[in-house]
């Protein structure tokens, strides 16, 4: 069964996500929470986060493609902000 796993491999490390099938009930190293997907539920890792031990869909109104596009736009905006900030400091 495909599941989403949240892992933290170091005590102060970031929480990482993995969506896939692990054999015989094994879990990825550092797993702190995992959830099975319901029938017809999106398996796009990008839309989910772990909050208070629960699986939360951060984009309930968006389809998968829209989630990825929003993520791209956020990356581009962050890159521009970094560039602008550094130019101000020059």
């Amino acid at each position: 069964m495909t599941k989403i796993y949240f892992m933290q491999l170091a005590e102060d490390g970031p929480i990482e996500k993995f969506v896939g099938l692990m054999p015989d009930g094994e879990e990825p190293e550092g797993t702190i929470a995992s959830f099975e997907f319901k029938k017809d539920q999106s398996t796009l890792a990008n839309r989910y986060s772990l909050k208070d031990g629960k699986l939360v869909d951060d984009y309930p109104d968006d389809d998968d493609e829209a989630v990825c596009v929003k993520e791209q736009e956020a990356e581009a905006a962050a890159a521009k902000k970094l560039e602008d900030d550094l130019k101000k400091g020059e």
Binding site: T2, L9, A10, G13, P14, K17, F18, V19, G20, L21, M22, P23, D24, E26, P28, E29, G30, T43, L44, A45, N46, D64, E65, C68, V69, E71, Q72, E75, A76, A78, A79, K80, L82, E83, L86
Partner: protein, 479 residues
């Protein structure tokens, strides 16, 4: 051009006495590549442990590494520039790879078994562009898919399967290059499906070669696999000689369970690994949502039909494989000794995100479970890098800007640990936040890829960073 120790004309090998570019006393093992506003593309060589080598781009504003070679342009006397080596035909490092089909420099395939896709960079600091008549600037991207997992000893050779032929090529050389010196490509193997790319696997301990030969139904991944015994690529590096001295022991039908969809990628670009314990692992990239999957079983020695059990899956989303162009699809990256095989595919569209399986030939996990890594970014990607003589790493191509402290970061190390019986277990270590010894320092947004030098496999890791000995005494570029 390549920095492979020469045979000296009499077999064996001669350790190289010089160092990087003949002066620094160290060889290069990795490269960081970036775009420098106002100057064009530039790159920095790193040593075997990712320490800076040259040029040193600490103060990016002062960097003047504009020309990359003393080679002159024919007729007009200008120094070599980006146009001459085709770097200008790629989407540079200033933009994220996102969902575009463009030829980005920073992708899940920025490091391959051929090294960098857009240039051949060698351990002595030399480099060439990549171009040929068949696939243009995409030649390395195409040829990376043809390389089969193989732990033969002469790591100056990659073995490729395409058009129904087994070929030996010098590292850095793709399909259309001349055969490795002293070797001869096979003729088209009778009855083989000539669309199969890099489908086959060699195990040097077992002296066994498995060759997916033809589809049975054209669907569900069911193929007939030829099993050759006494196949010895150390004794007979030439493919024709290896076949001539081997035995076609049997042919078995392989049926993978739980096959989600047919495509050229899933049918023709699967990757196979045969472990020392006889476990066969068939890894398939199902683009567009089927994920990356492994199918595992003991390979039969009596020709019995065999079902591959679906063991591992890594999910993906909208993504594309070899159906969509010669440059797309999954590929392998091997450790220097050839025994550890990383298999990488995108998570999102053509190049972005990253899914990878890590399979060691000496691993004995009874289920054939693999190590996995997933990067679900729709904006950036990651690369598999070889490390030391036996290990693999994952490096993420994160945006860096000047000295902002960002740029490529390591994510995982897969370190091989062997017991007294020679069985390998894989120690997976998080490396989040660690970085190469320097950042190449572009003065603009830059998604910096990192890749191994083309001839990485032919040189040995050493506690002495200035050592330049070959990986082993079978490294030989021939006459």
């Amino acid at each position: 051009m390549a920095f492979i120790p020469s045979s000296g004309g009499g077999g064996g090998s001669i350790p190289r006495s010089g160092g990087f570019a003949g002066s620094y006393g160290q060889r290069a093992c990795y490269v960081l590549f970036t775009y420098q506003s106002g100057h064009g593309n530039s790159f920095t060589f790193l040593n075997q442990d990712f320490g800076p080598l040259t040029p040193y781009h600490d103060l990016y504003a002062q960097h003047t590494y504009i020309t990359k070679s003393s080679a002159q342009r024919y007729h007009n006397g200008q120094f070599m520039n980006d146009q001459m080596v085709y770097f200008n035909q790629y989407n540079g490092t200033t933009s994220q790879s996102s969902s575009s089909s463009s030829d980005f420099m920073n992708t899940f395939a920025s490091n391959t078994q051929l090294g960098c896709p857009f240039g051949n960079f060698y351990s002595d600091g030399s480099f060439t562009g990549v171009y040929n008549q068949s696939n243009g600037i995409r030649h390395n991207w195409f040829s990376r898919k043809l390389i089969i997992p193989s732990d033969h000893s002469n790591r100056a050779i990659n073995y490729l399967i395409h058009n129904g032929k087994l070929m030996a090529r010098k590292v850095g050389d793709g399909r259309d290059y001349p055969a490795y010196p002293g070797t001869q490509d096979t003729t088209t193997i009778s009855g083989i499906n000539q669309s199969f790319m890099g489908m086959g696997c060699y195990n040097n301990t077992l002296k066994e070669f498995l060759l997916p030969h033809a589809e049975v139904t054209g669907s569900s991944g069911i193929v007939n696999v030829q099993r050759y015994t006494n196949f010895d690529l150390d004794a007979y590096p030439s493919p024709t000689d290896a076949f001539a001295n081997a035995t076609l022991d049997s042919t078995f039908q392989w049926t993978p369970g739980n096959w989600p969809s047919n495509s050229n990628e899933s049918r023709y670009n699967a990757k196979w690994v045969l472990r020392n314990d006889g476990k066969l692992i068939h890894t398939v990239f199902f683009a567009g949502g089927g994920g990356m999957r492994t199918y595992v079983a003991n390979r039969p020695t009596d020709g019995a039909a065999t079902n591959g059990t679906h063991v591992n899956s890594i999910s993906n989303t909208t993504s594309y494989g070899s159906d969509h162009g010669v440059q797309y699809g999954q590929h392998i990256v091997q450790s220097r000794d050839g025994k550890f095989v990383g298999i990488a595919s995108p998570y999102y569209y053509y190049w972005t995100g990253f899914n990878a399986m890590f399979i060691h030939m000496e691993n004995t996990h009874p289920n054939g479970t693999t190590n996995t890594y997933q990067d679900t970014s729709s904006s950036t990607s990651a690369q598999i890098l070889p490390y030391r003589d036996t290990d693999l790493m994952v490096s993420r191509g994160i945006n860096g800007y000047a000295s902002s402290g960002s740029g490529p970061q390591f994510a995982r190390m897969y370190n091989v640990q062997k017991n007294s019986s020679g069985e390998a277990t894989i120690l997976q270590s998080t490396m989040n936040g660690t970085k190469p010894g320097m950042y190449t320092g572009a003065n603009t947004t830059s998604y910096v890829p990192m890749f191994a030098v083309t001839d990485y496999g032919s040189l040995k890791y050493s506690t002495n960073s200035k050592a330049t000995q070959p990986f082993n005494n079978t490294i030989n570029i021939g006459a």
